[in-house]
Structure formats: C-alpha cells, structure tokens
Symmetry: D2
Subunit: 465 residues, 4 copies
Amino acid sequence: MNFYNKLKEDCGVFGVFGHKDAAKLTYFGLYALQHRGQESAGIVSSTEREINEHKGMGLVPEIFDENILEKLRGHISVGHVRYSTTGSSVAKNIQPFVVNYEGKTYAIAHNGNLVNAGNIRRALEKKGSIFQTTMDTEVILHLLAHSMRKGLSEAIVNVVSQIKGAYSCVLMTDDTIIAFRDPNGFRPLSLGLLDNAYTVASETCAFDLIEAQYIRDIEPGEILIIDKNGLKSIRPFPRHKHSFCIFELIYFARPDSTVFGLDVYSVRKALGGKLAREYSIDADFAMPFPDSGNYAAIGFCQKSGIPLEMGVIRNHYVGRTFIDPVYSMRGFNVKVKLNPVKHILNQKKVIIVEDSIIRGTTSKMRVKALREAGAWNIHMVVSCPPTKHPCFYGIDFPTEDELIASGKSVDEIKNYIGLDSLSYLSLDGMVEATGLPKNDFCLACFNGKYPVNPELGISKSYLET
Amino acid sequence: MNFYNKLKEDCGVFGVFGHKDAAKLTYFGLYALQHRGQESAGIVSSTEREINEHKGMGLVPEIFDENILEKLRGHISVGHVRYSTTGSSVAKNIQPFVVNYEGKTYAIAHNGNLVNAGNIRRALEKKGSIFQTTMDTEVILHLLAHSMRKGLSEAIVNVVSQIKGAYSCVLMTDDTIIAFRDPNGFRPLSLGLLDNAYTVASETCAFDLIEAQYIRDIEPGEILIIDKNGLKSIRPFPRHKHSFCIFELIYFARPDSTVFGLDVYSVRKALGGKLAREYSIDADFAMPFPDSGNYAAIGFCQKSGIPLEMGVIRNHYVGRTFIDPVYSMRGFNVKVKLNPVKHILNQKKVIIVEDSIIRGTTSKMRVKALREAGAWNIHMVVSCPPTKHPCFYGIDFPTEDELIASGKSVDEIKNYIGLDSLSYLSLDGMVEATGLPKNDFCLACFNGKYPVNPELGISKSYLET
Amino acid sequence: MNFYNKLKEDCGVFGVFGHKDAAKLTYFGLYALQHRGQESAGIVSSTEREINEHKGMGLVPEIFDENILEKLRGHISVGHVRYSTTGSSVAKNIQPFVVNYEGKTYAIAHNGNLVNAGNIRRALEKKGSIFQTTMDTEVILHLLAHSMRKGLSEAIVNVVSQIKGAYSCVLMTDDTIIAFRDPNGFRPLSLGLLDNAYTVASETCAFDLIEAQYIRDIEPGEILIIDKNGLKSIRPFPRHKHSFCIFELIYFARPDSTVFGLDVYSVRKALGGKLAREYSIDADFAMPFPDSGNYAAIGFCQKSGIPLEMGVIRNHYVGRTFIDPVYSMRGFNVKVKLNPVKHILNQKKVIIVEDSIIRGTTSKMRVKALREAGAWNIHMVVSCPPTKHPCFYGIDFPTEDELIASGKSVDEIKNYIGLDSLSYLSLDGMVEATGLPKNDFCLACFNGKYPVNPELGISKSYLET
Amino acid sequence: MNFYNKLKEDCGVFGVFGHKDAAKLTYFGLYALQHRGQESAGIVSSTEREINEHKGMGLVPEIFDENILEKLRGHISVGHVRYSTTGSSVAKNIQPFVVNYEGKTYAIAHNGNLVNAGNIRRALEKKGSIFQTTMDTEVILHLLAHSMRKGLSEAIVNVVSQIKGAYSCVLMTDDTIIAFRDPNGFRPLSLGLLDNAYTVASETCAFDLIEAQYIRDIEPGEILIIDKNGLKSIRPFPRHKHSFCIFELIYFARPDSTVFGLDVYSVRKALGGKLAREYSIDADFAMPFPDSGNYAAIGFCQKSGIPLEMGVIRNHYVGRTFIDPVYSMRGFNVKVKLNPVKHILNQKKVIIVEDSIIRGTTSKMRVKALREAGAWNIHMVVSCPPTKHPCFYGIDFPTEDELIASGKSVDEIKNYIGLDSLSYLSLDGMVEATGLPKNDFCLACFNGKYPVNPELGISKSYLET
C-alpha cells in the first residue's frame, strides 16, 4: 500500500449502473482504489439525457467536493484513478476518456496496457483519423467508432478481437455500462451489487466501503453489458490460459481485497510463512518497513517464532513536503517518512521483511538509517524472487537497466543495499503460497516468459517510434 | 471595450514565427486582445522538436505566469482568447485546439463561425471519425487529416474549399504557421513584423504592445504560409465580394486598432459626428457610458457644440464582485460598475451617446440610476441603426427574441428603457462614416441580408439537431 | 482615481450602527472606498454579544465572499481599507485593530497619522504596556484602556486631548460606534442615514452605493457617539482653524464624492478652467492620462475651446500582470496600462492635462510613449502648484529627495520629463477654484507651512528612533 | 499517534540558537512534532537586527514552503504547532505570540496551561493593560514587560514566580532563547545539540529528524538562557515534587521519543505486557486500531502468546474527506479511515488492545464495523485505568460529562461500546510499567488528585467568567 517509493501501476476503474447517487458511489469507490493511482482522477456520469464530467490532478478528495458531486447527476457513472505520465500535456490524459460520435457520448476507463496500440493507431491515421492524446486507450474508442454500424455489442466484440495485451475496462455510453477484460485476465475486475444497482471495480475493497456485496469477477475474456434489462454476458473468445498478475497479490492490491478469488491478506501472510520455511536466521526481532511488508512480516514471525517489532515509525502527516536539497542528502527524505526507533534498534540483530526490491535505492537509504540508529546486524528477507524483467501489461516497472536484480547477483544487491544477508523467496515457494497452479499466473517479471508478445518492445512509448 | 453587459465575440487569435520569445510575445498579444474573449485562453509553442501547451479559464494574466511562460519553449507560437460556451465540458473547448496525426502535432486558433460544420461532421462520422469537442473548429482539423496525402499546402486548400462561413485562423504545425481567412473577410486578421519574426493578430493593437510593425492584412481568401523559407501566399479562390463585419468598427475592435484598413477611433468619432448631423437635441451636456460610447460621444460633442461631461464614474476595481441577491434588485450590479455623479446630473437635460443597444436591459437599469441621481431629461443617441437580426459569423448575438429591436419599434424601445427620446443613426449615415462603399460590409444584423447562407439556421447549435 | 503610480493614502473608514445587514453594507462601503487603499481590508461586526472579524490582503472582493459576510453577524460594523506598509509583519497591521479589555472588545479604524505617537508609546512602555504592532493607531487604544475608569465618553475625550495630528476614526465597542475627527479636520469623515441606521464613511460615494442619504460631515474636533439611544455629539475642543487636505480635492477623493462640503467633480473642472485662464497654449487637442486628469481636462477644454481627445486608451483588464524584465525596459509596464492611439497622436501638437506630478518617473515614460506614437509637440499643464514638501498627516508622500519639485526648478522638471512646456497652476488659482478661503486648507505640501508641528520629523517611522 | 478522534493536546514547541538555517531546522522540528498540534503553526526568526515571522492554519507542510523559509532569515528561531480553539478569531491565536516592547521584539511558544491566568489578567487590566488574544500565554508577556526594569533574567524569574500551572515555554528575544519549565514538570521539554547550535524541543523525535544529539531535559523549575555566551541555568524554585503527565507516555508522545527520561515505545510495550499479566482472555488473535494501540498490542501479544493480526487496514490517503451526510450515518467516516479485513475477522474471537477510551463514541462505531465484518467475539483491553477527570494542565480533555468513564461503570461502558468484555489496566500496573515511582506522576485524570489547584474551575475558559 506504500507506493511512494517503488512502483506505479496505471489505474483503478469503477462503474455503477442504476443508482441515484451513482457519482457519489463512484467517488467513494475511487477513494478506496486510491492506492492504484494517486496523480489524477475523473468521474463521468449520465442521466441518459445529459452527460457530466469532472477530472483533475491530485488525490480523489482534492479533486472532488460536495458541490462538484452534486453536479455529476445521473444513475450511471464511471470513474478512474491514474498514475499519469509526465510531460506537458498531462491534463488531457486524465481518464475516463470521453468522445462524441454521431450524437452519442462514450466514456472509457482502462486499467492495463495494450501491446499493439501503435500498429492500430498507424493504420487508423492512414484512414484519416486524428488523435487527441498519446494514450493507448484512445485506440479502443476509434476502433469502436469504426465498428458501430452493427450495434454496440458487435462493435465491442469487434474491438476486443483487434486489441492485444492487458485491459480491464469499464465503458459507459449514455444508457449502458460495459465491463470487459482481456482473455489472459492480467488485471482484476470484479462485479458487485448494492441495492438494485450493479457496480464494477478493480478491487473488492471498493465494494466494502460502499457496502456493496461482492458477486463474482468479470471473467477473463468476458464482455459484460449492464443496462436497464439487467446483465448480459458475451464470451467471444475460446477458453484461454489465465495470466493473473502475481504482483497484485505481492504488492499492489489492498490487503483487504479479494483478487483473482484469493484473499490478499492471507496470501501475504503465507508468503511470509514460506520465507520462514526457506530460511533460518538468528535475530533479536523481525520488522517490516510499514506498511508494505506488514503482512508478510506477521506471517514470517508467526511461523519462525521470532518476535515482531516496529523498528521504524511511519509519519502520518507526510504530504507534499518541501525537502531542502542541503538536507535531502543527509537522508531527510527517508526519515521524514519513516523514523527509526533508536531504543528498539540499538545493538540489535534485525530481520527486515520486505515484499519486493525494485531499484534498491530506497532500501539502501533505509538500511543506512537503521545502522545510524544503532542496529548491529541487518538481514533482509523478500517475499518474492528477484524482479528482473520489465512489465508490458500495465505496471510502470522501470526499464531493465533500472531493475537492480536485472544486472546484479543477489550477493551484489546485498552489498549495494548494505545488508548482512539477503534472502529471496523461491519462485515455487511464492506460487505455492497462493494455492493456485503456476500456470494461472503471469510470472514474466521474474522469469521473462511473456504470455502475450509485446510487439513493440516497451509498448507505452509506442508514439516515439 | 466594455463587454460585460452586451455582446460576446468568439475569439482573438495570435501567432508568431521565428522569435526566441515566441510564447512571451503571444502572451502580450493575447493581453492586448483580451477584449475579444475573457473567459479562457491558451498558448501552444513549438521548438520544432517539442510542442508545449498551456490553457486555462479566466483572464490572460490569471492563466499564465512567468514560470509557465518559461516552459512554453520554442520560436513558433499560437494563442487564442475566447468567450467560451457554458456547460459541463467547457475546459476541453479552450483553444488552440491541438491534435496528433501521424506523429505530427497540429494546433489551431479560430475566430469566426462555420455555417456548414454540422453537415461536414455528420459526413466524417459516417466514415468512423470521432470528435472530442462540440466546436466547429474541430472539423477543420479532421478535414485536414483526410487531405494530408498531398502535403500541407494542398491539404489547406482542400479544407478551405469545403468549409463555409467566417474564419480567420492561425494554424501551427511543428515547423510552420499558416494564417488563412475566408473569402468574405468577415473577421479581421493582420500581419506584423518584429525584428525578423512574423506575427499574425486579430487586431493591430496587439502589434503596438509588442512594438511590432503592422505590414498588411491577411487578405480575404488568402492562405499565408510562414516557415523558415519566409512567406508564401496562396489565393485559391476567385476574387470575391467583401463582407467586413461593420460591428467590429462600431463596437468590438479596440479604438487604437486599425481594422479593414480603417482606424477605429476616427470611425467612431465620425459615427458620433453623423449623429450630430442627423439629430438636433436641446441638452445641458452629452455623456457616454464609459467606455463603450466614449469616442462617438467625443465626435458628437465636437460636431454639435454640446459640452461633454462624465456623468457616471467607472469603478476600476470591479472584478468578480459578490452581489447579494437582496441588493442586486436595487440596481447594485449597475452602480457597482458605474456610479452616477449626482452634482453633475441633478436637474439637467442629458444626452447619452451609446454605440449600440442589444437587449436594452442594461440601458434600462442605467437610465433608471441617472433618473434617481436627479437627471430631468434623458435622451439617447445610438451610433448605429436598430440591431434586428442574429449573427451567424462569429458574434454571440442573442437570438432574435432577445434582440430588443427585432420585436419592438423605436418608440417602444424608448419607452422600455425609460427615455425622453431615442435616436438611431441611419444605415447610410453609418456606412458613410466609414468612408468605404456599402458593398464592402456585412450589414446582416441591421438589414437581414446574409452574405453566406446559414444552412442550419443557428449554426452554433449544430450538434443539437 | 488612478493610484497605481503616484501616491498612496493610508486609509478609508466605514461604520454602521443599527442595520441587520451591517457587515454587508460595510462590504459595499469599503468597495466604494477601494481607491483609498488597495492592499488590505477588514471588517469587524458585533451582535452586542458576539464579535466577529475578517481581514485579508488584497482588494475588497478578493477578501470577502458571501459565506464570510454571512458569518459577520450583527447590527453594528466597522471596516477599513488600507495601503499597508511593507515588511514581514504586514498581516498584523491590517485594520480594524481589535483588542480585548476587561471582557469587552474594541475595534478601531483610523485614517490619518498621529505626529506624537512615538512619545506616547515610549511613555506607555515605561508603565509596562506592550505593543502588538508598529501602527500609530495602537496607541489610541492603549490610551483608551488607561482612561476607562470614568466611562467611555470621558475616556475618548481624554484620548483626543493627548493625541496630535490627523485622525478621522471609527471606533466600535460591543454596543456603540464612536466617530471622531481631529480639530484641524485634515481628513474627511461623513455621516449618512439608511432606513433607521446611521453610517459613517470617509467619502460620500460610499453612501451613494448603498443608497444611504448624506446627512452632514463629522465636524473637525467632534466626537459623535452612536448607540441605541441615537446620536450624541461632544465637542471637547475650542473652535479651531481648519486645515482641510487640498490634495483630497485635487487627486484622492472620488470625483462623485462630496468632501469638505465641496463636490469634487466640479472643483476639478474649476481647476482645469483656472489653468486655461492662466496659460494660453497653441495645440491640436488636449487630453488626460485616464483617469486621473479626466475632470481637469474637461474643464480646461471647455474654458479654452481646445478639443478634447482620448490620446491613450486605458486597458481595463490590467491586474497583477507579469512583466518580463526584458520587456519592462522597453516601456511595457506603461503601455500595458495605457496604449497611445497612433492615428490620433501622429504629427499633432498635444496638451496633457495632469492633476499633479510627484516623482515624475511615470510622466516621463508616458511622454516618451506619446513621442514614439508620433506626437510632435507635447505640453503639460498641471492642476496644482509644484509639490515640494512631505506630508505628515496621512498621505504616503515620498521623502523630499523623491519629490521632483523639491530639488528641481520647473524648467528642470520639464526637461526631465521631456516636454515642450510645463505649466503649473498657481497656489492662489488653486485655492480660488475651491471657493473656500485659503485659511481653511492645509497647503503644507506646496508651501511647507505645517499646521501641526510634526515633532519627530517623519512621524511614521517613529519606531526607528 | 492517531489524534483524529480522541484527544487534542495544546502544543509542541521548538527553538534553535546559533545555526545559520535556524528557521529550516525549526520547520523540520515542527514537522516531527506535528502530532502535538495539527491546526496551526508558526515560526519566528531573528538575525539580531531583524525579526521575521510566518504563521498559518493547517499542517506544517501546508503553511511553509521553500520561499517562505528563505525569508525567515536569522540564526535564532522559535516555532510552535497548535491545536487551536474554534471561533472567529482563530488566526490571531496562532503561536509563537509576538509583541514589541521598548524597541525589542519578544516571541513566545507555550505548551501547557496556566491555572491562574484569569486572575493575573484582571489585575493587569486594572492597571490599563489591553489584550490582543484570549490566550493564557499572553499574560506571560505582559508580566515580563512589567518586570523588565531589572533585566531579562530577573524579569523571567519574576514572571515564573507569579504564574501557576503547566508551562514548557521557549521565549525568543532579538538575541536570546530562554527555555523554561514549571516546577512540576507537567509537560516535557528537552535540550539538543546540532553542530555548535543548541536546540530545544517538546520531544526528542524532533532531534532525530534534524540529526541533533539529545543532551538532557530542561529540568522542572529550570530557566535555561541560551545566548552567544552559551548556556546559563537558573533554578529559582526550591526542589519540588514532580508531576509528569503519564498520558504523554500512554498516548501523546511519539513512540520514538524519549520523554521524562523514559523511552516511550518500551513503556507502551510494558503497558501491554502488564495487561497480559492482569487478564487472561481466550481469543483467536489480538489487534490494535492502528496506530494508537500498536505498541501495547505488540507487548500484549508477546507476553500472552496470542497471535497479532492487523484486523483493520488504515487508509493512508485520508485527508479532508468530504463525507456525504447520507453516508456518514452508515459508518462511512469510520470505514474511510480504517477498513475491516473481512477474511481475517470472519467468525473469529478477537481482542482489541486500546491505549485509552475517552468518549467511547469512536470505539463504539469501530466495534460495530468489526461485527459487520463477521467477528464473533470482541474483547477490549485498555492500557490505562478509566479516565474520569478533566485535565487543567494542557490536554484538551472533554468535560467530565463527556468522559464516558466519569459517569458510567466499566460494565456500562462495555455495553455502550458493544463489547463481549472490557478490561482496564490497574493504576498500579500502569505506574509499574513506567519503572518510576507513583509520586513522580500527575495521575489526576485517573484519580482526581490535582497537583496544582485549578483556581477557576476549568481554567481555559477563564475569559468567560
């Protein structure tokens, strides 16, 4: 749940059909999904006659207030939170993406990443289409416009037969919500029920907050159309091998969510328990860096019998803090967030339970701060294998050059971070902790086996080619 | 220059090619054109490698600051000020309108109104094009994308052969500025020179502020391409009758501008002089409502020998003032802007020199305030004929129902406003004051003769049909 | 009315007793007095049980909105606009100044300047009093606290017997408004009536806006107590020579106000008329720099028969404009506000009618801009004599070094500004234009005769001594 | 560390003498002390010639930025964070409180509450002193001004001999920092060293962040003068019984601080351990409500052998959230902050380890949310005895009426909150966990024995009497 220092995922999506407070529910839904994108958010609503939208940069409560939500009238709504790309034109990339076509309005919220967006775009431009944004999401709506002759259902089927990669989408028209998910099922997407209204969300924690009931997942490859006639499910693809993103379980999803049918808190505890099975380390206590490794640490301590302590205190008032350059060199940007507790750490042998290591830079600074606070031995156990390969399916992983495990051995990483020992969970141990077969997961960031061919290398930069 | 209460024109446009401070010059240019649009503004700049843009709601100095202008790097720039339409999606209608097409960026700033945008849009949608906005301007870029096979020059020629109505446009690509103006020449568009840089502006007052030299007008029907090779002029149309908007001279343009080859200040004085010739009224003094009738009033007083006084004082600190509903009924919203000077008005016979009357509501409130301040007789002379017909070429005139002269006789208007007498300038007197032949002007708002057929009735609402 | 470039006066004050919308009326009153202070404002109101206040930096409509005014409950209110001094502690110097003493609250708004505040303060500090601010106004409340044994009326009499200099004050207690004015009557202060409520204001233009009726001035040396029993007037001083600030008539007050019993618009016209009598200059036309010289110019033209033109256009959208240092050298900061009209000025002989010259720097830049616009001869007539001496009674005049007429002859000033000729109105001509005897005015800034001895040199810096 | 729902303490104070970045260090110091006051903050700095100050409402990083800190020049600085009182005049109560007296500036930051401020104020007002604020802190400066004849040291001695109650203060003059603490030592105050600069802070966690070294506490009854000559300590009082606030250890202070010579983290673990000794409860797991009970929960689990789980997830993005009234009834304001983890709670027997119960309302809502998430049995253990009496020494405890333990038995509280059982730690158990003798603490909120007589009942409302 701590995304400040490591990875950025693209998005969280949310939709409601059939509730008089659709936009307000979407506001709370996005609030619960805030961890999936903290830089911009938007809500689009429909009364079937009138479409209203509001988008902005920042956190959900900074963007919306009561007045704005009052104006987002309608019983249908779709929302999106996003980690937006940098650059001069950020504002126009905020989702949901909205277009007009033949007098109707279409709004789409997309979580994931298309691997063939560049090819499709070039083909569309040859036919005279012009583009507003550099988002892969925009091609979905262009394809839809080119297919609308035969009606919305067939148009969607036509679109999904052309796009490849990861997509968990919520599309809103004036009178319909369509949720659809790629056949691999890379990203989660769930269906809930509140009173007589249907709701769709990236994670079930959004249902908990609005007191909706979790029904089931939108299945991989499913197109679910929600309108005044109820639910209609289309499955245009033959049954397909799943490729659930295991990083959702390790790191991204909130611990109180159910994702891919698994409860995230328990999976994380099990990952910590597996670490305790695989490694035996002499220590005074184990500790997480709150809050990312909390649950693996609980599992690790319960299995190993090593006491749990909170060796660092998280500062809850951290916002957009000004850090003077002079002081940032002295590790202020680390200590402002997590303050080591000297009297706990002093002269102690400590095990840090981490969920993952990406660049290693934050870990290095934190370990240094622990040493300065008096820790004598510092071991680290990590609840997944070394992360060596970039993601083309929606996680903003750094390039291979920046992934520390891509170029360095475990021993070199240990030395870089400044540890006494470093122990990664095995790939099999990780998969076993989930209880699902290995085949059900995308493990590409660990083993380099990409379930869908990323045609253009790093697909998100497709416009530069 | 007082646009708060009467008419809203769509836009002012500005462009620079070949100056290292292109965006800063555009900022000052838009500043000088602020009277042509006060609700939003935008600037797009190009270094030929990188496009930067910034847009916002509000006045030019509220939208841009030094930091923002520093980031708008490049030697090419285009800008726009706009009276934007109301509704939920205002922000996306702020110009310049920017799109990507085959790896290149196109930004357009448009002053005027297309009368066949609806037909073009429907045809494009049939081919699968989707639209971001409800602006007629967007169809220009769609047509351009469909014509780019043969190169930019031919594409522009192809576009202007399809669009009809009023357009004074500045189009920017990564490395070129193209200024083009409809064959009727409804709206002004001028060319200036600053050091070695060319600049294009709606009015010459923008050149004065940046100390550029006014060269000539972009001619009606001309396409002027400005790039590193200099100027290239294309005139794809046969020579065409002009239809200069005479309201630019009466009301819109700044008095220090040269428009259609005429100096606006002198034309307005001449209009006031014509009024003095056509009517003889006994009065203690004449006065304008500052600042709209100032120049006609000076001309009127010089020709008639009647003394000029400033019977109302304009409040310079008027901004977005909160007006309590309770007090607004008592005429506060009028007096907050213009305070009657009691000791000047008391027991006097007064002539108000007005440039035009649109709805009559503001005049009515102001005349009431003069009466309360003690004026005994109030006459009004207006420096144009009764305004009876809506405009389809870029002025946001009210509908015919709202135009007071459309449904009421001069005598009825006089009574509605509460005047002792009301005298309009004759159509011929108005035209004579300009020194140009009647044929050169669009006089549709006075005589209902529309130079270009407005196909769809009120063209700006083409999306609702 | 144009205070951007020349002088800053300290304050405008306003008070209401007995109206349910007291704070709203005060808001409009301050709005009308905005020209007397543009950098901060405040309102304090009382329900007799509860005191509410709100203050801020900026213009009145920027500081207050509907919500804030709703919270300023009560039927008694006092307000203040101010040109605040620079420095780190500006915010705490915003008036009305509020203190608590023995369970009661006192709020004071002060226009003017005390010349013996330093001596009084030092004496109070010796007795153990501590001060929150560096304002002379604060000593009034300290003196009041030390005199309260015998009741409010006597305390005020005791205070005014100790303070010297210029003060037009409105003091509010929980249940009373007290307006008092120094025996010389340097600054104006008027009494108005709205329904059954009394109101006090620096200028009568504030009454016009709220539709209150002007009753009379608070007389020099008068203490006027307004409470639920009505008005009670105390005159503790023997009758005293008046010292009305003639600069209020020349420059500060709004032309639609009545000040010292004189209507400002007519006095300014008379000043222009006197100029036409004293000087005969050959010219094509005369013009003001709007809006400061407007009324003297009208008077000058009517008496001389020289035509009036508006040779420069005032930009109404000027706010806090960013001016790039590069461009400010080229006179942008002048032209952004006032744009010369080339076709009017070109090859013409021009007379500028100015109300006053303080530093001469702004005039110099403006004259330069007129020359660049093509004016051939530029004469200037000024509606007062040379301003040679600083003011110790509430006008923020520059020091003698900065007053151009203090160190330079008229001929030297003419050359500095770049004029063909420069003509000041005579002292007698100026006084005659008012219709009052010379004895009634403070003319110290012209003749150096100070009606009240400024003990400490420049009294406003008394804290530095 | 979670202050949103329970208690508000008045303040945190911080001072620096002798560092070129004094204000920046103060900024970070206040940042670390943010938990002691979240509604306003201020910093005052001195170069010995010039005093600069900046204050505002909100969190420390919202109030200060780099530009502001740059302007707070000087090598001496004092800062304050505050939970400010509500009302219309909040802004002027922000500390440090600053006054001018005989040409010098005095700034004071105060943590605590004086019990005889009302009496002193009435006496001072009789002598003619006027007050700016309703803060007890202001009387300290008035007393100081009345004693300055004999120099600063004696003046401070004179002041502390007159004031009674709780005060840990940092006073800054132009060239000196004086830290002083009441003889009972109710609130903490520590001395640190950074390079050659001395620093004073409410808690040692502020030293950790700026990497200063903790030297010792300012002792109860000590006056410590820090100037260019170094440290000078004055102890004007005879040795006195200590009355350390035990609630600092239970709840207020940060767990990584050392307070009263005790490390807070270890004391909290010991309190949890004592609970495990005093009560034996059958449960599946124990959990805190993060983050207030975290450390007691760790101690409780380690001693009892009951597993620790995180049954609720804290939402880190909580800011000023809009909560629709409709939804707030359904417990949204609780769940937005803490989301129950259904799969952990479902069908479980749970022990909640709490640090304290004040009103019981938040606990009641949280327990209800746990029940809805499926918990079968819910027990609560509290790491202190029932809190029955208000605090007159600086903690904003509710009145006795609002303290649930004041009017209800333990059984009634259990029923109100909806628990299966409720167990408070014994008074002796609590004291034993600290390792200090009972005599060293103020235990008034538990046993009603007030070490200093609160003369006026509830002293903070002294102005109303």
